[in-house]
Amino acid sequence: MAKHTILIIDDEEDFSYFVKLNLEKTKEFEVLTASDPENGINIAKTARPDLILLDIMMPKMGGDDVASYLLDDPKTKDIPIIFLTALVRKNEEQEGEGEIGGRTYISKPVTAAELISRIKMALIPGIW
């Protein structure tokens, strides 16, 4: 089975580092990381990952802006994005079940097991 390529755009390099270890350990994913949003957009264009994990709060350029940039570009507009956010309350998590304003997101902190299952869900054809 071909490995899925996942791109993580997050200024928290240590987070990306451990996520990469956890995902690649499953042998199902190949993980690319970018700590700089602009760099992340470039990697997305060139590497065309199967899914992007995008942190919402980053210096220089927020996750929202990165997402709209990716959606504007025909090369990247079809890549599913899961947002990462540290600013979610208990209620929102229970009520929205992972969606705010129609967008899929994962609340930080997240366990490796949950992260993997959410990524797999998003990769099922048709769901996105």
């Binding site: 928290e12 451990f18 902190p109």
Partner: protein, 501 residues
């Protein structure tokens, strides 16, 4: 030149009467007379003399009785009476003086002495009238209300200010008790009793009451009562001096209202400023702490996967994960507390909301061997609420109760409708546990932000403050009673939504 003084003479002896009339006329008096005692009262009323000469021994009507009648009538009471009598007994004299006779002459008498007595009695009476007028004038210039009561509490005098404020003329209230005229029915009895008890009390005495004026308006009056005593010290009259403080009271109330309003606004301002500050801090803390927590959790998850076969390393790694997850819960509580969530109100019955809340903590309760006793009536009125927020209230209380009973126990939940004196209908929900209770000194602090006795277990001390805020946002109240070793009761009162049918 002063006016001609009028003297009325009553004597059944025509000769004596004639000569007396002659002498008095010559002395400058205007005289009228009768020899029939039955006529005296009517004639006096008609003639309005300055003085009466009265023979006490007359056929038919007794002179003493005439005297009594004259003294007993308001219109003739003030007219001085000089008694002339053939009786010279001490007992008769004493009886006459007791009836208010000013002088007593025994026939035969010296006319010059009688004349002197007549003149001095009239002069005395006039001086008294003058003094009375003077006092009335002084009383009437006073802005304060002045009311004089007799021993029975009847009004015997009052001043112009009283007429002005009450709208009653003196004649309308004379000899009536003030409480019968001016007080509300429910205050009468108390005022009467207070008056009757007042003789033993200390003077001056201060009080306040509300008078109803002739046109139905209410005036608040502050009274100061003084006792007027006889020469032997017995109280004859109570003099009440009153100041109309209606405007002042209103102004004070308005001032107090304005002050209260200001204080509320101030507290709200401080509170919302505090909440805004907490909100900013919470967001910052959440972001700055959740990111490292995310790293720790991803990191320990990776380590755990690497040491899956080594329990000696798995356990420490798991403990790090647990600690990080606990820190995450605190941060989430903090965010919940600080953010104003958009609330959606709906009218709903409380028991189903309690059931839903119970189902969310069921697992924890069965782990801890906690039993639930429900006492829900078959019908409960609906309450307007944000269901999610109300669930949070119940969950917070249930979790607190469960945590207070580490060895298991019972939580009883009683729901019922109560009515306040004001007519407000409440739905009351009482959660009682059989737990360890709260130390007395801690009870006032449980609703304080960041107060917690479970810091170690990851409590941020926000559960009950949030609970209280939500309950109060719903127009309700929350109270806690607790006994150490016995348990804790949390009582919530929420206003009922539907109108009485």
């Amino acid at each position: 030149m002063s006016e001609q003084k009028k003297v009325f003479v009553a004597d059944d002896d025509p000769t004596a009467l004639f000569s007396l009339k002659e002498l008095l006329s010559k002395s400058g008096f205007l005289v009228e007379s009768t020899d029939s005692p039955g006529e005296v009262v009517a004639r006096v009323n008609n003639f309005k003399p300055h003085l009466i000469l009265l023979d006490l021994v007359m056929p038919g009507l007794d002179g003493f009785t005439v005297c009594e009648t004259l003294q007993g009538d308001k219109k003739t009471r003030g007219i001085p009476i000089i008694a002339i009598s053939g009786l010279a007994g001490y007992a008769d004299m004493e009886r006459a003086y007791n009836l208010g006779v000013v002088a007593y002459f025994t026939k035969p008498y010296d006319f010059q002495k009688l004349l002197k007595e007549i003149n001095s009695a009239i002069a005395y009476k006039e001086a008294l009238q003058e003094e009375r007028n003077f006092i009335s004038a002084v009383l009437d210039t006073a802005g304060a209300l002045i009311v004089v009561l007799d021993r029975q509490g009847r009004i015997v005098r009052w001043n112009a200010a009283c007429e002005l404020i009450t709208g009653y003329a003196f004649q309308e209230i004379e000899n009536k008790c003030p409480w019968d005229i001016f007080l509300k029915p429910q205050e009468k009895e108390e005022a009467r009793a207070a008056f009757e008890n007042s003789y033993s009390g200390q003077f001056p005495r201060k009080s306040e009451n509300c008078w109803i004026t002739k046109n139905g308006a209410l005036r608040t009056i502050a009274w100061s009562d003084t006792a007027l005593t006889d020469s032997d010290g017995t109280i004859k009259n109570i003099v009440s001096t009153g100041i109309d403080i209606t405007e002042r009271t209103l102004a004070e109330e308005r001032l107090q209202d304005a002050y209260d309003e200001l204080r509320r606004a101030q507290i709200q301002l401080v509170q919302s400023a505090k909440m805004a500050a907490i909100g900013r801090i919470a967001n910052w803390v959440a972001h700055e702490i959740k990111n490292p927590l995310a790293i720790i959790i991803q990191g320990t998850d990776y380590l755990k996967s690497q040491v899956a076969s080594e329990p000696a390393l798995r356990e420490p790694a798991q403990r790090i994960t647990d600690a990080a997850l606990r820190a995450d819960r605190i941060v989430k509580d903090l965010l919940n507390f600080s953010r104003q969530s958009t609330s959606s109100q709906e009218e709903k019955e409380i028991p189903p909301v309690i059931e839903e809340s119970l189902s969310l903590v069921e697992h924890q309760m069965s782990l801890r061997n906690v039993q639930i006793l429900r006492e829900f009536p078959s019908y409960t009125p609906k309450v307007k609420m944000d269901v999610n927020q109300m669930k949070q209230v119940f969950i917070n209380i249930l979790i607190n109760a469960v945590e207070a009973m580490p060895g298991g126990g019972k939580i009883s939940i009683v729901v019922g409708e109560t009515k306040e004196e004001t007519g407000r209908r409440n739905l009351e929900i009482v959660f009682s546990d059989t737990g360890e209770g709260i130390l007395e000194e801690n009870i006032p602090k449980v609703f304080e932000t960041f107060f917690s006795t479970k810091k170690k277990e990851g409590s941020a001390g926000l559960g009950l403050p949030i609970t209280k805020e939500i309950v109060e946002k719903h127009g309700g109240r929350i109270m806690i009673e607790s006994k150490t070793g016995k348990g804790t009761s949390v009582r919530i009162k929420l206003p009922v939504a539907e109108p009485l049918t």
